[in-house]
Symmetry: C2
Subunit: 407 residues, 2 copies
C-alpha cells in the first residue's frame, strides 16, 4: 500500500521549521507495509493546498496524511481548503467547545476567543481526538483514499497516529522488515570488510545499507522476502560486528552502558575537561541513571584539576594539561573523590583555537579506570568544536563499555 504526505505551512517553506513529521511518518508506517512514495510541502495558500490535494487524490493513493494549518489563527486554512475541495460544510461542535472552555477554566486561564475555531469541523469527517492539544484531527475517505488531517505540532500528530489512526484505520499487525545495528569505534570501510561475505550470502532476499554518523556507523538490514527470518540474520551480522556492535534501532550507547553498569553493579563518575559536562549529561539522559551515576567534575582550569581532582600540579607542569598523564590522574582523581567504581576522564583541544604544533586542535586523551585496570586512549578528531566534543563523548562511553565487557 502506498501513501502520500502533504505538509502545510509557510514556516516549512521558509526553512524556519524543519519538517520532521513526514520522516517520522515514513518510519512508523514501514512495519505496516505502507510506503510513502511522495511528500509535498506547500505554504498557507488556499489554492495551493486544494490543487496539491487534488493531484494526490487523482493519483489514487491508499493513504494521505496531511499535517499543519489547524491552529486558531487566520493562517490556518486547511479546513477551509478541504471544505472547498469536497464541497463540504463546516459545523460547530458545541460539546467540544464547552469541553475546551472547561479545560481552560480549570487552569484559571480565560480561553482566547480565537479558540472557537478549534471546535469547527468538516461535516463529513470522523473526528480523531487530540490528547496533547486543542486542534482535533479528522478522517475522510475520499474516492478510496483514507485521508487524515492532523495538526503540525509533532507531539500532537504522533499521538494521534499511534493511539487512533493505526488501531482504527490501519488495523494491521506490524511486521518488522527493517532492523538497524548500531556500532561505535569502527570506520565504515572496516565494518564493511567484516560483513562483506555475509552481505553476499543474504543478498538474494535482503538489502543492506551503511549509515555513517560522527557518533558511529549504523548498519540497516531490510528484509525483502516474507519467508526470511530478520532476527536470525540480524544476530549473525551482530556477532560478526562484535565488539563494535552495541545495540539495535533506538538503543543509545549511554543506555547500553547503563545496563552494563547495572549488570556489573558498578557506579561511575566522570572528570571532564574539553567535553565540558557532556559525558555526564549523556549518562544521565536515561531515567534511572541515579542507580549508577554518582556525579561528575568538569575542571576547565588547571587549578581546578588540582583542587577538585587531585591532579598533582607538577604533572600538569611537566606534561601539560592535555596529556596521557593528566588524563590518567583525572580519572583516578574523580574515582577517589566520589568513591565510584569507574572513573572516566577527557582532556583535549576542541578548538577552534588553542592548538600547537605538537598538540594540534582535535587532539584528545580519554582515560578510563575500573577496579581491574586503567587505560588512556589518544585520538585526533579534527572536525570542528561541536563534533570534537560529540566524538570524544562517544569514544569515552564506548571505551568504558568495552572495558567492562572485556573485564
Amino acid at each position: 500500500m502506498n501513501a502520500a504526505v502533504l505538509t502545510i505551512g509557510d514556516e516549512l517553506l521558509q526553512g524556519f521549521t524543519v519538517d520532521t513529521n513526514s520522516s517520522w511518518l515514513g518510519t512508523i508506517l514501514l512495519p505496516y507495509n505502507i510506503r510513502i512514495t511522495k511528500k509535498i510541502t506547500v505554504g498557507d495558500k488556499l489554492n495551493d493546498i486544494i490543487s496539491e490535494t487534488q493531484n494526490i487524490l487523482d493519483d489514487k493513493y491508499d493513504f494521505l496524511f496531511v499535517t499543519g494549518g489547524l491552529g486558531p489563527t487566520h493562517d490556518d486554512i486547511t479546513k477551509e481548503a478541504f471544505r472547498q475541495l469536497l464541497d463540504d460544510e463546516i459545523i460547530f461542535d458545541e460539546n467540544y467547545y464547552l469541553q475546551l472552555k472547561q479545560h481552560f477554566e480549570k487552569r484559571s486561564i480565560k480561553m482566547p476567543e480565537s479558540n472557537r475555531s478549534q471546535a469547527m469541523l468538516l461535516k463529513t469527517a470522523d473526528v480523531i481526538p487530540n490528547d496533547n492539544g486543542t486542534a482535533l484531527g479528522m478522517h475522510l475517505l475520499i474516492k478510496g483514499t483514507h485521508t487524515f488531517i492532523m495538526p503540525g505540532v509533532p507531539g500532537e500528530m504522533r499521538s494521534m497516529v499511534n493511539k487512533y489512526i493505526i488501531p482504527n484505520y490501519i488495523k494491521k499487525t506490524p511486521v518488522e522488515n527493517f532492523i538497524t545495528i548500531k556500532t561505535a569505534g569502527i570506520m565504515e570501510s572496516h565494518l564493511a570488510e567484516k560483513v562483506n561475505g555475509l552481505m553476499e550470502k543474504y543478498s538474494h532476499s535482503f538489502r543492506f545499507a551503511f549509515l555513517p554518523h560522527y557518533s558511529g556507523v549504523s548498519f540497516r538490514i531490510n528484509k525483502l522476502d516474507e519467508n526470511e527470518n530478520l532476527l536470525n540474520v540480524k544476530d549473525e551480522f551482530f556477532k560478526a560486528m562484535l565488539p563494535y556492535a552495541y545495540g539495535i534501532n533506538d538503543n543509545t550507547l549511554e543506555e547500553i552502558l547503563g545496563l552494563k553498569l547495572i549488570e556489573y553493579k558498578f557506579t561511575i563518575a566522570t572528570a571532564e575537561s574539553c567535553t565540558g559536562g557532556l559525558i555526564g549529561k549523556r549518562l544521565t539522559d536515561s531515567a534511572g541513571s541515579s542507580e549508577y551515576f554518582l556525579g561528575s567534575v568538569t575542571a576547565y582550569s588547571n587549578q581546578l584539576k588540582t583542587s577538585l581532582l587531585n591532579v598533582p600540579n607538577d604533572i600538569i607542569q611537566k606534561f601539560g594539561a592535555v596529556s596521557e598523564e593528566v588524563a590518567l590522574e583525572m580519572a583516578k582523581g574523580v574515582r577517589a573523590k566520589t568513591g565510584a567504581d569507574i572513573g572516566i576522564s577527557t582532556t583535549g583541544i576542541s578548538g577552534p583555537s588553542g592548538g600547537t604544533k605538537t598538540k594540534p586542535v582535535g587532539l584528545v586523551y580519554i582515560g578510563v579506570v575500573t577496579p581491574e585496570k586503567s587505560m588512556v586512549k589518544k585520538y585526533n578528531f579534527n572536525y570542528g568544536r561541536n563534533i570534537h566534543r560529540e566524538m570524544t563523548t562517544t569514544a569515552a562511553l564506548n571505551i568504558t563499555r568495552l572495558a567492562i565487557e572485556q573485564g
Copy 2:
C-alpha cells in the same frame, strides 16, 4: 521570484534521513527575494523523478533546486531521469575523471570503479564544481526555469549554492527582510501583550510571527516594504521586549551570557544535579569559554553534594535534596570550591519517576549566587525528562544573565 525544491531519495521517504536541505535553501534564498512555494520529495524511481520534474516545469517556476541521486551507486538515477526528460545525452568528462583519479592516488587509495559515473554529465548542462565531494552539480535552463541539480550531502550542496549558484546565477545583492528576536523567561501570550501596540503600528508594511520553543519564544519580523528600515523597527521591538529579549537570529543564550561575563570580568562555575552537566556543556559550547568558565560539579548523590559542594548534611536531611535551601548551598558551595565569581545550581526531579505529592515530577530549584546577591527560583517544568532538563538549563542561564545585567 518563486522556486520549487525537488529532493530525491528513498531514505527521505522512509524517514531514515530528515531532509534539512530544503529548509536550508528556504532560509538562504529569502534575502534574494526568492520564495520557495513548493517542496516535493520522491524516491529513487525514474518515472517519479521525471513526472514530478515535468509538473514543476509546467508550473513555470523561476528556479528549481534538485538534490540527491548523484552518487556512484545504481540507486542514483537523477542524471538518467533528466536525460530522458530533456532527450539529452550523457557524456564522459575525461579530464574530470583523471582529476578524481589523482585525488584518490594522492591519498594512496585505489579509486572504486563505480566512481567513473561521477564523471558522467548531461551534455547541455553547465557544470557546478563540488569543493567538498566527487559528484558535480549541473545547471540547466529549461523553458525559462533555472534548474540546479546537486548532490544530497548537505555540506556539498550548501557550498555549491553559496560559492557558485548565488554568485553566478542569482547575482543579486542580498537584502535582509527577516530578523528574529530571541527571548527567554516569558510566555508567548505575555510577550504578545507587550508588543501588540507596536505590531498594530507597523502592520501596514511588516508581518510578525511568534515562534514558541521550550527554550524560549522567538519573534520574527518580516519586512514587506522595501522602503522600511528593518533594523530600526527591530530595535523598537527589542526595547519593548526587555529584559526578556537577549539577542537576534543565531544568537544563543549561552553565547550572550558569555559576552556579559567577559564584559563584567566575571568567572562562573555550576553545581548541577538534575541537569547532569548540561549547563556546563552549554556554557562551553562557545569557543573561548575558558575565559570565564572555570568548571562544574554534578553531584547526583546526596553524599557528593556534601563532599564535593559542602552542602551541610543536616540541611539535606531537614529540607530534602530538592529544596530551596539545598539549591542555595550548592551554588554557594561551588563558588567557594572553585573561586568563581558566580555560582549556578540546579536540583529537581526530571522524572519520569522520583516524584512525591509535595515534590512532584517537574519541580526544580535554581540557585544563582553572584558577588552582589543570591537567589533561588522555583519552577515546575512537567513535560518529560529531556525537556525538563532543557528548560531548567535555559532558565538557569537566563536568570544568571538577568542577575548580571540588573546588578
